[in-house]
């Protein structure tokens, strides 16, 4: 399945592995993120915790604000478009964004269809809750998958649920016989050839990152040990008491995720983490991870 265009898209996702991608809302925050060792920044007007608090329709960010961020950092700059909103994605590609996140954090533009991402030169990342959703997005051209978690919650429970679901399904698919793959593919609603790829390679065809709820260095280490290849951190940094220190500590914990001594040292003296939300405090229809399918 690897044509040259797709190789170049997945190639950038490969380069971001073992790192932290941070949500930023202006040039100053972007600089703090880069100085803390972020591998990329996600430019958006409001971080998920504020989108949740403000309510209303959340759309693609103002291109002017994204361009200002592109000017001050040398690391890749990502930006979000609404699910199914291919015109927003075209705008983001035209201003030279390095990765487009077709994201459930924004209000979906299409409740039935996601973007046909093969039409674009810019690579896409999409969220998923389970392996069926991951493989559907990859079939549409996503070059990177991130498990959704619950953005803006400061609660890691959904991120864990989704990552365990994807990793568990990968292990299960590897145990299936070839003549069992078609029925499995039908049940999860994913293309057979991608299920076959998972069986033969023991991984998704593109890198799988984690998102939605990481607030501490230990959260970052947890997601990496569960199989994330990089961590997206949204509200967790700039909603905390000391963003620069916390950003640095999460970078360190992501690199040394399997060394508890280093994660312990990174966790000291960071000030308060962002306040978290119990999932039961978020009404079902306000849970961002339920958007998209």
């Amino acid at each position: 399945m690897l044509n040259k265009d797709f190789l170049v898209k997945v190639g950038l996702a490969e380069m971001l592995k073992g790192g932290v991608i941070m949500d930023v809302t202006n040039a100053e925050q972007a600089k703090i993120a880069e100085d803390a060792g972020a591998v990329a920044v996600m430019a958006l007007e409001r971080i998920p915790a504020d989108i949740r608090a403000d309510g209303g329709v959340a759309r693609m960010s103002n291109p002017k604000m994204i361009k200002e961020i592109q000017k001050v950092v040398s690391i890749p700059v990502m930006a979000k478009c609404r699910i199914g909103h291919f015109a927003e994605a075209q705008v983001l590609q035209s201003i030279g964004v390095d990765f487009v996140d077709e994201s459930e954090v924004l209000t979906p533009a299409d409740e039935k269809n996601h973007i046909w991402k093969h039409d674009f030169k810019v690579p896409f990342v999409c969220g998923c809750r389970d392996i069926g959703e991951a493989l559907r997005r990859i079939a549409e051209g996503a070059a990177m998958i991130r498990t959704k978690g619950e953005a803006g919650s400061g609660n890691i429970v959904e991120a864990v649920r989704h990552m365990r679901s994807v990793q568990g399904s990968i292990r299960q698919i590897q145990t299936l016989a070839y003549d069992e793959l078609t029925a499995y593919a039908k049940n999860i609603g994913a293309p057979l050839e991608l299920v076959q790829y998972v069986k033969e390679n023991g991984k998704l065809p593109v890198p799988n990152f984690s998102a939605g709820g990481i607030a501490t260095p230990a959260d970052a280490a947890l997601m990496m040990q569960l199989g994330a290849e990089t961590n997206f951190v949204g509200s967790g940094i700039f909603k905390s008491e000391d963003p620069a220190a916390r950003a640095k500590a999460i970078v360190m914990a992501t690199t040394h995720y399997n060394d508890p001594d280093i994660v312990a040292r990174a966790s000291e003296g960071l000030g308060e983490a962002m306040p978290g939300l119990e999932m039961s405090a978020i009404p079902e229809d306000e849970q961002l991870n339920k958007r998209g399918w």
Binding site: K4, L7, V8, G11, L12, E14, M15, L16, K17, G18, G19, E34, D35, G37, A38, V39, A40, Q70, S74, I75, P76, Q93, G96, D98, F99, K121, V122, P123, V251, M252, T255, H256, D259
Partner: protein, 187 residues
Amino acid sequence: MTIGVLALQGDYFKHAQAVQRLGHDAIYVKDSATLAACQKLIIPGGESTTIIRLIEELELRNALLDFAKQHSIMGTCAGLIVLANTKEGLPFPPLGVLDVEVERNAYGRQINSFVDSVRLNLFDKMVEMEGVFIRAPKIRKMGKSVKAIGYHKEVVVAVRQKQILAVSFHPELTEDFRLHQYFIEAI
């Protein structure tokens, strides 16, 4: 042979896979004790600002400089930037064990990333392979002891200075591991 892959950040998995396919052991290096167990080292692609910051914060600089005196190192893309001596835009100076100046992201943003054929002088023979260029750096100036060993069109994309080898593209992203083989067997 045991080949270390610097695993602070970046696509170290793909490099380790290439080394293993060639029948050698690959280990991830995140501290100086592990580095000491390696015969050679690969510095992978990734984000050069992140990798250089982590080298500094984890106090790996001196261990890497010592290693470079007696062992071979291959750097790809961000790895080239880490080995070179251009400080501009980086949080800390690079290792400076390769006498070249580089320009980061010289081809532009991701939209300008590409795959194209490159020519390499390996084992005294010019060979062609696919070069994957992702937000790649360009080599702007080379010291006298540095030899160009690879080109994309007329642009130098691979250099060697004694036991240091560096390329601006990603040989680990294709299934063609001749450059890895050259690094392991000839350098």
